[in-house]
């Protein structure tokens, strides 16, 4: 497993170069900006910041090309995505009431308060079980798709993978930028990127960090529409173990709301829910996590604490 560094947003005050310097990663950089979709070629700022040669893997363009060439695969992906959407609809329908019940138990004031913790723990367990059930459902959909279509054996995908393998062979590190987490995950899984990376160190941020974890969690506590219930999106690539990546936590989460923080943390334990804001990050050396900058994690007490190994 390669060493992995997960960072917060990099747009305004990037620290990628500092991370590369600290890890003495001096060669050319493979760059994945597929989460930026049609803007994936706009890497000038990133290249200038890193002060290193960059080799854009062009995953968004490659995926577009593959799907244009292989219409049958394209249709199969559309069908798979339809099934995923239906599974997601069921999940959301069930998730709202379960999270409501957890929150209501935190608002309750009863005469025998000593009885509450067990109820709350059971309620949060029900949410975690639903998350697990949902993941199981969509794993089944993904597995059925892979079994039927085996994408890496399709000529267009195989050819793209070979080109990617050659690019990555020359890279001292791989950078994965943020953007649309679903689009990015689709690209990385279609080309089975982890099998191409080998031991190349990876530095990823925002959505790029999310896709490397074991479980991708979507979150926003104050959306303009809807309830703002965090939801599991899919399995990640599992190159960053035992963490839930929460980029832009300061602007997307109500970090002062102890109940929300506590529920979010407890729901995904034993993984650590890590707030990845600007200037923050965590590094996995294959053995343990270390913090970069003032990185904080959510605690079961509903607070934020300095990052320690999960």
């Amino acid at each position: 497993m390669p060493s992995v560094t997960l960072l917060g947003p990099q747009r305004l005050r990037p620290i990628v170069k500092r991370v590369l310097d600290d890890q003495e990663l001096d060669g050319p950089l493979g760059v994945i900006t597929g989460g930026w979709e049609e803007r994936e070629d706009e890497v000038d700022d990133l290249r200038d910041h890193c002060q290193r040669e960059t080799l854009n893997l062009g995953l968004y363009g490659r995926m577009e090309q593959v799907l244009a060439e292989d219409q049958a695969l394209s249709q199969a992906l559309t069908d798979r995505n339809d099934r995923l959407r239906v599974a997601q609809t069921f999940y959301r329908r069930r998730l709202g009431p379960l999270l409501d019940s957890v929150r209501r138990l935190h608002e309750l004031k009863v005469s025998r308060m000593e009885l509450l913790p067990a109820e709350r723990a059971h309620a949060i367990k029900a949410v975690a079980e639903l998350d697990a059930h949902y993941l199981n459902q969509i794993r089944g959909i993904h597995a059925a798709f892979r079994e039927l279509w085996d994408p890496v054996e399709r000529p267009a995908v195989a050819a793209a993978r070979e080109e990617l393998r050659q690019i990555l062979a020359d890279c001292a590190a791989l950078l994965i930028a943020g953007g649309h987490v679903g689009v990015l995950l689709d690209q990385l899984t279609l080309f089975e990127l982890p099998t191409l990376v080998d031991e190349t160190p990876i530095v990823a941020w925002s959505a790029g960090a999310m896709v490397l974890t074991e479980r991708i969690v979507l979150f926003h506590d104050s959306p303009p529409q809807g309830r703002g219930d965090p939801e599991v999106y899919d399995d990640g690539l599992a190159l960053a173990p035992q963490v839930v990546a929460l980029p832009h936590a300061r602007s997307r989460l109500k970090l002062e709301d102890k109940v929300r923080v506590k529920i979010l943390c407890e729901r995904f334990q034993p993984a650590s829910s890590v707030a990845l804001d600007e200037g923050c990050g965590i590094h996995w050396d294959g053995q343990a996590w270390t913090a970069i900058g003032p990185t904080r994690r959510l605690t079961p007490q509903g607070k934020l604490a300095g990052m320690v190994a999960p």
């Binding site: 926003h220 959306p223 303009p224």
Partner: protein, 381 residues
């Protein structure tokens, strides 16, 4: 109405001295003084009468201040509901003459096409932060698009908003706004669009800001105006810019008479706009007899009566908003079930505000993000 504790305290020792009045005013600025749900307005000066002139439907539109005997201090305390935003002026009487002024002791004001009003807000109202320019927001840009209108017989200029990071190769949803220049000027529409797009709460979109010529004629359900929007504006914008072709990606928007213009255009051309955003629409109608809103409303009432008889399905989704302090709240409320009965997906939002551009500004986020949900759940840059 209970008196203001601060005023009571000032008057406790009898007639206050000029220096005590000075001290009271300087210590309590800015006015109105807010004590719980009470707001106390104060004016200083020699006059024959001072009145609070507001546009809150349901309250007497003019309420008199009381003069503190032996001083130049006038005051009025009113009960207001929380989370309210109220625009007002002071009417100062000098003999038979009256002048309307903004409150000299209140720096808060709102501009509109007719000038500016003073603004009183109560606890719970806060101007949304997404209405202010934000340092890290990427900015879109405005361009001009000229076109000659056969329907209206004159040259027209549209202002076109292109979102930050606009790309010719991508296709965008289209929002067409009536009273475009007023939305830009008084509702800071460009700042709001920049911020909502940056926050991923709405998708990047192209906005066509359209201005009227003779507003009260064109926007009063005039068939030529509908023709202009659908047969001239829409094709011109779609030719010049990369617009998504589906009706579901198009929205027509307007406030007051602009709301009528939006609804009547969509009604005359059903299926053209998948979405409508109607703010404080002047949807006056009569069940029986005549209306009392003046001649400008004659064609509006005629249209609304016809519309209520046969609404059809002007759009799939309609977001409506109206201030509860507006006289139009009744008409807007009554339109909602009618639209819903036609199978239209309707969201109606009320605000404790009046018929003004800042009320309409404050509803942008809720309306646009409902009609055009942004990608914020899946994009983490």
């Amino acid at each position: 109405m209970k008196a203001s504790p601060a005023i009571r305290e000032l008057l406790d020792g009898g007639i206050p001295s000029p220096s005590a009045v000075d001290k009271f005013v300087s210590e309590n600025r800015p006015f109105p003084l807010r004590e719980g749900d009470r707001a106390t307005f104060v004016f200083r000066g020699n006059a024959d009468g001072v009145r609070w002139q507001h546009w809150i439907f349901g309250l007497a539109s003019s309420q008199s201040f009381k003069r503190v005997q032996g001083t130049d201090l006038w005051h009025l305390t009113v009960d207001l509901r929380p989370a309210s935003r109220i625009e007002y002026k002071l009417a100062i009487d000098y003999g038979e003459n009256t002048i309307l002024i903004r409150d000299p002791l209140n720096p808060l004001k709102a501009r509109d096409p007719y000038g500016a009003n003073s603004v009183c807000t109560t606890a719970g109202y806060e101007r949304p932060e997404w209405t202010f320019p934000q340092a890290d927001t990427r900015e879109g840009r405005l361009e001009r698009l000229e076109l000659y209108s056969e329907a209206l017989g004159e040259q027209r200029t549209l202002r076109i908003y292109l979102p930050a990071r606009f790309r010719e190769t991508r296709r965008y949803p289209l929002l067409v706004m009536h009273d475009g220049s007023d939305y830009l000027r008084y509702s800071v529409a460009k700042t709001v669009l920049d911020n909502l797009i940056h926050r991923l709460e709405i998708p990047p979109m192209i906005v066509a800001f359209s201005d009227p010529g003779d507003r009260l004629r064109e926007y009063a359900a005039d068939a030529r105006h509908a023709q202009h929007i659908v047969e001239e504006v829409l094709p011109a914008v779609c030719e010049a810019y990369p617009i998504e072709e589906r009706p579901a990606s198009r929205c027509l928007m307007g406030a007051s008479f602009g709301g009528v213009a939006s609804l009547s255009t969509a009604w005359r051309y059903p299926g053209t706009f998948g979405n409508l955003f109607l703010q404080s629409g002047s949807f006056a109608f009569t069940d029986i007899g005549t209306h009392h809103r003046g001649a400008a409303f004659d064609p509006v009432v005629e249209f609304m009566n016809e519309f209520r008889e046969a609404p059809g399905r002007p759009a799939e989704n309609i977001f409506m908003s109206c201030g509860v302090y507006e006289s139009l709240i009744y008409e807007n409320r009554s339109l909602v079930p009618l639209l819903q009965k036609c199978g239209i997906n309707v969201r109606f939002v009320e605000a404790r505000d009046g018929h003004n551009w800042e009320n309409w500004r404050d509803r942008f986020r809720e309306g646009l993000s409902w009609l055009f949900p942004g990608p914020l759940w899946k994009v983490y840059e």
